[in-house]
């Protein structure tokens, strides 16, 4: 019954596709498109734009931290009044820079740019669907994101500056205009932008979940899904459950700011007057914020891990080790990610008993992460490794995941966190495990699926240079921060010379800043490679990495609808690489088990019988459909 249903479904989807194929004009093809592939590319290009902005902001504040005596007059044409008469960066604007850097990188680059790009691009292609469940919602998802970006971008240029209370925008600082200039109009725009962003994420997430559950092609059971799809699916689930809570936090903040409520405000004397608010709690905001904020880390990281699993397997020419264990780990991370949020709040003044509970829960989440690392290592072991740029970035990701993950064990321990909380140790930790790891996942994905996106290859040599400069650069930027953090240097400091304990390491900070500038510069190689190869790169072959997954069975430039004929049927899991007995070192998912008797494992021989029955069934339906048409 289920089989027959799927077959008719794909047949009817096909008819539908034929009706619409030739009506695309420029606007419906490139702007208000409902094609998931184009939407994915829109997310990617927008994400790259924001990554440049976010990176530039970080370069400016690294100049301040690495070269505190530098005169920044030359930035006056861009920053205007934010550079004072002595050529120094304004301390308020410094805070605005770190706030905007964080917001942009976490939400616009690593959430929208990563999940938005690859969930959209890959889900239908890898599960064998014509498009997302709702192309229209998908289009809305992008345009809400775009609108959110426009508002956030405008906020960079207003007179009082953008939001400046740190990317977490804790009240009362963010609630009171008197507290800092950025808490005025800039903060309002931040809240409006984030509201649109949340709407965008939810529209996208509902679509990803629905598509993965309902539109898998025939034979594509959950146990045959590539790990990329598992990762995107679970990411969407996390986002769907946690983003509304961020919205509630933001909404209450809007009330406190504009309508005189006291959700977060109590006993405040500021600017020479006592405010009437009593009974609110700033800690409430922190709970609500981190209920999204912590899952957000996994929203950013899981897609990168999924992409890496796929790329490492393809380029090791080996099945991913422990496919089921990988899925169980991701499920474990998904569930646990919701019950560890308060480890960001050990010293917030909340009940220490809660601290103990969250310490236990937090260290449990390290276990599935450890399993994933060991599985990656075992996948590499006795492989036949091909170092495409995608593969290099994937190995780099695993390295960052280890380095940054291990420092999480310090920070998750509430007793050790007392000293390390809000120091550069934390900055080093999350930039490695969340920032750089996810960024490398994004890069790996772009290099790997570029041929499918644009039908051309990126230049591999430029890719190698880009990788090595970035990989070494990232470590040179973030590794030294551990030392600075152990020495107790606090975060979000404009300068450290006011304190004796932190009046040192000017050399190390200078080194970090230089490394950051070089690493940022190295991204220009990527930008050139990306845009040049889009038009002038070598034309790709249909399956350049000799990969098993479905997206490589589409034409070089798939039209809206992805496959010109029937959607292919899937007969096996996606990781049959170097199977003993097989002539090639890969067997695509579309090859029936009955066609490969020489390489089938004992339990697969059993499946062959079942498969034959299904194929016969399918042919019957096809014949029936054809007779109906004629």
């Amino acid at each position: 019954m289920a089989t027959a249903h799927t077959a008719t479904h794909s047949a009817s989807a096909h008819d539908h596709h034929d009706d619409h194929e030739h009506h695309d004009n420029f606007i419906t093809k490139y702007i208000f498109t409902t094609d998931h592939k184009m939407i994915g590319k829109q997310f990617l290009v927008t994400g790259i734009f924001w990554a440049i902005i976010g990176g530039l902001l970080s370069i400016i504040f690294r100049l301040q931290l690495g070269f505190p005596d530098m005169e920044l007059y030359w930035l006056k044409p861009i920053l205007g009044g934010w550079i004072d008469d002595a050529g120094k960066l304004d301390p308020n604007f410094y805070l605005a820079l770190v706030t905007m850097h964080g917001t942009i990188m976490v939400f616009f680059v690593l959430t929208a740019g990563l999940s938005g790009t690859f969930s959209n691009f890959l889900i239908p292609l890898q599960i064998g669907a014509r498009d997302m469940a709702s192309g229209f919602m998908n289009m809305l998802s992008y345009w809400f994101f775009f609108l959110s970006g426009v508002i956030m971008f405008i906020s960079l240029f207003i007179e009082t500056g953008p939001a400046s209370g740190g990317w977490v925008v804790y009240p009362p600082l963010s609630a009171l205009e008197q507290a800092m200039p950025g808490s005025g109009l800039g903060m309002t725009l931040w809240l409006v932008a984030m509201t649109f962003f949340i709407a965008s994420s939810l529209l996208g997430g509902i679509n990803y979940i629905t598509t993965v559950i309902n539109l898998r092609t025939k034979g594509m059971s959950f146990s045959r899904l590539p790990l990329t799809i598992w990762a995107f699916f679970l990411t969407a689930v996390i986002g769907l459950l946690s983003f509304p809570v961020l919205f509630s936090a933001a909404l209450l903040l809007v009330f406190d700011r504009s309508f005189g409520t006291s959700f977060y405000l109590s006993d405040i004397y500021i600017g020479g007057e006592a405010l009437p608010n009593t009974g609110g709690s700033p800690v409430l905001y922190q709970h609500l914020f981190w209920f999204l904020g912590h899952p957000e880390v996994y929203i950013v990281l899981l897609p990168a891990l999924g992409i890496t699993s796929e790329i490492i397997s393809v380029n090791s020419r080996k099945p991913i080790f422990g496919y089921k264990a990988m899925i169980i780990s991701m499920l474990g991370i998904t569930i646990l990610s919701f019950i560890v949020w308060a480890h960001h709040m050990f010293v917030s003044g909340m009940n220490p008993f809660l601290g103990s509970i969250f310490m236990f829960l937090t260290l449990i989440i390290a276990i599935p992460s450890a399993v994933k690392v060991f599985n990656y290592l075992t996948t590499l072991w006795r492989g036949n490794l091909i170092f495409t740029p995608g593969m290099l970035f994937s190995i780099g990701l695993v390295s960052f995941f280890i380095s940054g993950g291990l420092t999480g064990i310090f920070l998750g321990n509430s007793a050790i966190d007392i000293q390390l909380h809000d120091t550069y140790f934390v900055v080093a930790h999350f930039h490695l495990v969340m920032g750089s790891a996810s960024f490398f996942g994004l890069m790996a994905g772009v290099y790997h699926w570029f041929p499918k996106m644009f039908g051309r290859m990126m230049d591999p040599r430029l890719g190698y240079i880009h990788f090595w400069l970035t990989f070494i650069g990232v470590y040179m930027v973030f590794f030294p921060m551990h030392y600075i953090g152990i020495a107790g240097f606090p975060r979000r400091y404009y300068s450290w010379t006011n304190f004796e304990f932190s009046n040192m390491y000017t050399d190390l900070n200078m080194f970090v800043s230089v490394a950051a500038i070089i690493t940022f510069g190295a991204q220009l190689i990527f930008l050139f490679n990306f845009f040049y190869s889009m038009y002038r790169g070598r034309v790709a072959s249909l399956n350049p990495w000799r990969s098993n997954t479905l997206e490589w069975t589409t034409p070089l430039h798939p039209q809206h609808g992805n496959w010109p004929g029937e959607i292919p049927t899937v007969y096996r899991w996606p990781y049959d690489y170097s199977k003993p007995g097989a002539s090639e070192d890969f067997i695509p998912q579309t090859v029936p088990l009955s066609a490969t008797p020489e390489s089938n494992l004992p339990h697969e021989q059993e499946l062959v019988k079942l498969e034959k029955a299904i194929i016969a069934d399918e042919e019957e339906v096809l014949v029936a459909n054809e007779s109906k048409e004629s």
Binding site: L173, Y269, S316, G322, V347, A415, F479, Y505
Partner: protein, 344 residues
């Protein structure tokens, strides 16, 4: 003129890089190496991983050892000894894992780089291995957590009765340090009473407040428990005393606390570090606005006898500024007058 020359130079450099890149591409097409599964670059990349491992690994060890005394902050509190020990135990455990996994991660690419005549081994799963590397990390983490949990419980349990109370009030952008005076009980406060001459919003109709005094420096005795009562009056702040391994947020509307025992006086630490300028410091670690990076207070740790002497010498708020008690009821005012006369 200079700018023009630099621009020409950059232009030349870019065009040279461009030419090299194009020639490279053409050569690889002519050679047909772009048709191969893995080109010669594969070997280079594999080699690079090993070089990276050795190079950065060496750099890490060299710098970690060379700079140890710099990044390792002097320690001056009892609980800090415990948390420092936990820190270094965790460092040892994670350090070993860090090194082993990275050796494997960067050596495998070299060892198993692509060879045309070799086939990767089909090794999809092994439940025994999965169980081992689920259970072993679980046990190791459990041990670390239990250590952390015991320390955390000790640190956060209620302060001993005899702890010396000091109130730290964070505001943009400084700390106000208030002492409870001889009775060791802080007077009540109400944020609505705050003004320029009453920074902490002390309620002087509470007679416990009459001997309260403030101090530009946090003076505390060595070897005796001290309880920081922490408040904020505008936005979030966070008390961070790095040498005491102490940190606690200051939250408007929700008083917080942290108690500890200092183990070395400032003088002792100066002698130990051979640095006559050394001071214990308090900084702010929760972003609070423009002056976040400048909320400094000095902690002066002294011998208990010296502390008592210092305490006796301090003048309460109402002695320095009798106007504070002008509007009190006659009885309270009389009590206040007595306190004032005692301190004259």
């Amino acid at each position: 003129m200079y700018g023009f020359l630099i621009a020409v130079g950059i232009l030349l450099l870019i065009s040279i890089i461009w030419m090299v890149y194009r020639i490279q591409t053409l050569v690889s097409v002519v050679k047909g190496s772009d048709k191969k599964v893995a080109s010669g670059s594969n070997k280079v990349n594999a080699m690079m991983f090993v070089l990276f491992l050795v190079g950065t690994g060496g750099l890490m060890f060299w710098y970690s050892i060379k700079e140890f005394d710099n990044y390792n902050l002097p320690l001056a509190s009892e609980h800090g000894a415990v948390t420092d020990q936990l820190f270094w135990i965790t460092m040892a455990v994670t350090g070993v894992i860090f090194i082993i996994t990275h050796i494997l991660l960067f050596w495998f690419p070299y060892k198993y780089q692509y060879k045309e005549d070799r086939k990767a081994s089909f090794y999809p799963d092994n439940n025994k291995l999965e169980v081992i590397w689920t259970v072993v990390p679980a046990i190791v983490l459990a041990l670390l957590v239990i250590g952390g949990w015991k320390a955390w419980s000790d640190i956060t349990k209620p302060a001993p009765e005899n702890a010396h109370v000091v109130e730290l009030l964070g505001y943009q952008f400084a700390w106000e340090v208030r002492y409870p005076g001889m009775d060791n009980v802080l007077g009540a406060n109400d944020y609505r009473l705050t003004n320029a001459s009453n920074v902490s919003g002390v309620d002087f109709s509470d007679k416990n407040a009459h001997d309260d005094f403030n101090s530009p420096v946090v003076v505390i005795p060595k070897g005796e428990p001290v309880l920081f009562k922490i408040r904020a009056r505008d936005v979030l702040h966070s008390v961070f005393a790095p040498h005491m391994r102490l940190k606690m947020d200051a939250v408007p509307g929700m008083p917080t606390k942290f108690w500890f025992v200092a183990t070395k006086t400032t003088e002792e630490m100066r002698a130990e570090l051979n640095d006559p300028e050394f001071e214990y410091e308090i900084a702010c670690t929760e972003v609070c606005g423009k002056g976040h990076f400048s909320m400094r207070r000095v902690i002066n740790v002294v011998e208990p006898a010296e502390y008592r002497k210092w305490l006796a010498e301090q003048k309460p708020y109402i002695v320095n500024n009798p106007a504070l008690v002008e509007n009190l009821s006659p009885e309270l005012k009389e009590l206040a007058e007595i306190t004032i006369s005692e301190h004259k």
